[in-house]
Structure formats: structure tokens, C-alpha cells
């Protein structure tokens, strides 16, 4: 069966989103590596790359709006196009967080160079960033395959990241309590953990969007584990 022009354009748009996802994933992976190695040079490259992700978002949004305006899509086509607008925004936000993580890395590396009071990067922060990147990889894979079951596993994993964030906050507050001179370093680590936690939230949003796209079920604001916690 031949593929129609509209269908081909949908495939192209999906490829654009997959490519944007791969770029964002690479950006986050490199931001994570730069953090663990306290590599200022690599971190600065990550910051520069954010602009390209922003351009990709504009391109995806422009194409999706054109397809909606000219084809009046319905059913799975409509769900995909509506989702593509949100997915592009989520990916762009993840790119911003990658950039934020890299900025914190630059700042902490600078502190170490200047001999300011600091400790080495806590092991659980390295673990947390690896877990969040793994979540992002799972979410992107689920989107590419249109696999709602895998997407739901990503959503379940978000609890784990939230727990990491809480543990790190407590641990850093204790260190800063014991040694007030490490307050600036503590602030950087807590901010960093917040960025990673937000990254995992956006990976969760990607997964929720995949469930909507694949099954037409809106689970956003219903299944998000962090929402349930907020209500407690």
C-alpha cells in the first residue's frame, strides 16, 4: 500500500521528535558525565547545545500546527499531533534542565578550583542523575515504539527519584548544619538534585503523553505518584 502525503508528513514529524529526543538524551548523558567528572569544559559544551534543542522545538511546533490546520486530523492522527506539541515542549524543558545541571557543574568545579569549602559529589547524587537519565531513555524508547506498557513503567519509577531527592536534601542539610562554611556548596547540591528531580518529572510527562497517544487515555494529573504525595 502506498503511503499518502499526510501520512508521510506524520512519519517525518515523528522522526523529528525522535531525533529531538536523541539530542536531548545525548545532552543529558553528557551533562551527567560532566557532573560526575566535574568537567567544566564538557559542561560548557552542553550549555551551548541547548540553543539547538530550542530551535528543534520551534520546528516541530510549526510543522504540527501546519498539519492540524491543513488536514483536520482525527483519531490517532489527532492524538499524535496534539501530543507532539506537548512532547516538543517537554523535551525542550528537559534540555533546559540539562543546561541547568551543566551550569551547576561549572559552578561547583569553579569552587573546587578556588579552594572554597566543599566536599566531593555525594555518591547518591551520581546515582540519582544516572537513574533519571535511564528514565528518560525508557520514556523516549516507549514513545518511539508507541508502547503504553513501557511508558507506564517509567511513571512508576518516578517515586524512586523523589525518594532520592528527599534523602539528599536531609543529608546536605546535616552537613551544612555541622559546617556552616559549606553552605554555598550545599546550596549547589540541593539545587542540582531539584533539577534532576524535575528532569524525572518531565520524563514522566513524556511517558504519560505516550499513553495518551497510544491508547487515547488521559492519565496526566491522575497517576503521577508525586501528585498523590503532595496531597498527603
Amino acid at each position: 500500500m502506498t503511503i499518502g502525503i499526510f501520512e508521510q508528513k506524520l512519519i517525518n514529524l515523528k522522526n523529528d521528535l525522535v531525533e529531538m529526543g536523541q539530542d536531548v538524551f545525548t545532552m543529558l548523558k553528557e551533562a551527567g558525565e560532566a557532573l560526575v567528572a566535574m568537567d567544566k569544559v564538557k559542561a560548557k559544551e552542553v550549555i551551548k547545545f541547548d540553543r539547538e534543542v530550542n530551535d528543534l522545538e520551534n520546528s516541530v511546533v510549526h510543522k504540527a500546527i501546519n498539519l492540524i490546520a491543513t488536514n483536520q486530523p482525527v483519531a490517532s492522527d489527532l492524538r499524535f499531533l496534539a501530543s507532539s506539541l506537548r512532547l516538543a515542549a517537554e523535551l525542550e524543558r528537559i534540555g533546559d534542565l540539562g543546561s541547568n545541571i551543566a551550569r551547576r557543574t561549572v559552578e561547583m568545579a569553579h569552587m573546587i578550583e578556588e579552594g572554597e569549602p566543599a566536599e566531593k559529589l555525594p555518591e547518591n547524587v551520581s546515582m540519582m542523575v544516572q537513574k533519571a537519565i535511564f528514565m528518560l531513555e525508557m520514556a523516549l524508547g516507549a514513545f518511539e515504539k508507541g508502547d503504553a506498557d513501557s511508558a507506564r513503567k517509567v511513571i512508576d519509577f518516578d517515586d524512586n527519584i523523589d525518594d532520592c531527592n528527599r534523602t539528599i536534601r536531609k543529608q546536605i542539610l546535616k552537613i551544612v548544619n555541622d559546617d556552616g562554611l559549606k553552605a554555598k556548596w550545599g546550596y549547589e547540591i540541593i539545587t542540582l538534585a531539584s533539577h534532576i528531580e524535575r528532569l524525572a518529572d518531565h520524563a514522566t510527562n513524556l511517558a504519560e503523553e505516550t499513553v495518551y497517544m497510544a491508547q487515547g487515555k488521559t492519565i496526566r494529573h491522575i497517576t503521577h505518584p508525586s501528585n498523590n504525595k503532595n496531597k498527603k
Binding site: 500500500m1 499518502g4 483536520q72 486530523p73 482525527v74 483519531a75 490517532s76 492522527d77 487515547g216
Partner: protein, 254 residues
Amino acid sequence: MVEEKKEKVIIRAKNVDFYYGDFHALKNISLDCMEKEVTAMIGPSGCGKSTFLKLLNRMNDFVPGARLSGEVTISGESIYGPNADPVDIRRRVGMVFQRPNPFPKSIYDNITYGPKLIGIKKPDLDVIVERALKAAALWDEVKDLLNKSALELSGGQQQRVCIARALALEPDILLMDEPTSALDPIATSKVEEWIKTAELSIVIVTHNMQQAARISDKTAFFFLGELIEFGPTLELFTRPRESKTENYITGRFG
């Protein structure tokens, strides 16, 4: 206390099979249309949607070799039973066709044609004309031109004269067979606006899926004489249950 909206079935088709000679045009169709709702019928040409529509006011009675099995009721009464009167049924179930077909008479005479046949006289006729034209959203445009020939009106106005002519008999149901396919976008939007605000039980056949999505409460998808899917329009157009529906409405049929 919130008052619960009670849906009332106005049209019920139960296990309906319909044949044109040897051709099995409708296969075991069961479907309920609710009072004061707009029900849209979609599907490719030859799928049976217009055949189904014509069953509802016994327009297929005139087709040689046509036969029906199963049951069709309107407000609980069988319209194919021994006591059913086709003339009375067609008074209660009005119809508007694809192309505007006003009589070559004045606007006034078009609207009063049916009421006169059942013995209604002036001044009641004047009241009926005003009410029907207002209901069809045409009164403001033609109130000073009632003696003008309906054929001199624009296509959209002619179609609304036909709607008003059908409404003059105060039908319980209005059947519409692709009522805007011969109209330009402005005339189409006026007819669609009327349909959306009519507060009448309407069954509409349309090839324009966006139109079905815009104006109907429920949509039925027919294919090869079978009712593939029937349900709330919003659901059918955002997450259809059946893959055949999905393929048809997204244009990937075949």
C-alpha cells in the same frame, strides 16, 4: 439538586436487514437514536447509510424489490407494522435532501404547502410561516420577501426554505441526506448552526466527517451494510474502538 438528564429513545432499529432484490444492503442493524439529539451517519459510498436513513420514513417503499426484516420503531410504535400509515409517518418524519428542492412557488407557498394539505387555513398559516422560517434561521432574511419565488434565493437560503418547509408540519424527527454538499462554506455554516441549535431529533447522512464531528451528538459508522461502530461523536473521532473506523476516518481505508 442537579436534575438528571433523561435520554429518551425516539428511533429504535432492531436486527434490521434490508435487501434490494438479491443485494443485502443492510445487515442486522441495531441502533437507538435519542430524542433531540443529532445522530450522524458516516461511511463510504454504498455502505448503506442513506438506505438506513430512507427506512426511517419509508422512502424505500417505492423501490421495486426492496424488502425489510427486523423492527423499526419511532417513539415506540412500529413504522412497518400492519397499522402503520406511511403518510402519517412522513408527516412526523420530515426530510431534507442533498440539493435544495424548493417548489417553483413563492417562499410563503413553499412553507404552507404541507399545512394546507392537512386543512390548515389563514391566519394560522401566517403563524406557521413565521415560526418555521424563524426556526430555520431564515426569517430575518426573507420576512419582507415572502411572495418572492423561492428559486430566486441563494443556495443556502433555498436549503433553509426546504428545512422550514419540513418544519412547518412540526415533525418529531428530521432526516437530512447530505444537506450541505451542494452549498458553499457560508451557507453550510448557516445550516450547521441551525442543526446545532434546533432542539430537534435529527438524523443526518454526511460524507463530510468534519461536519459530523462538528454538529452531531452521536455518530454511526457503516461499512458494507454493517454498522461497525456507534457512539458519542467525540469518542468516535478521538479514540474509535474499531480499527475499521480508525482507518476510515483517518483516510487510510483500503
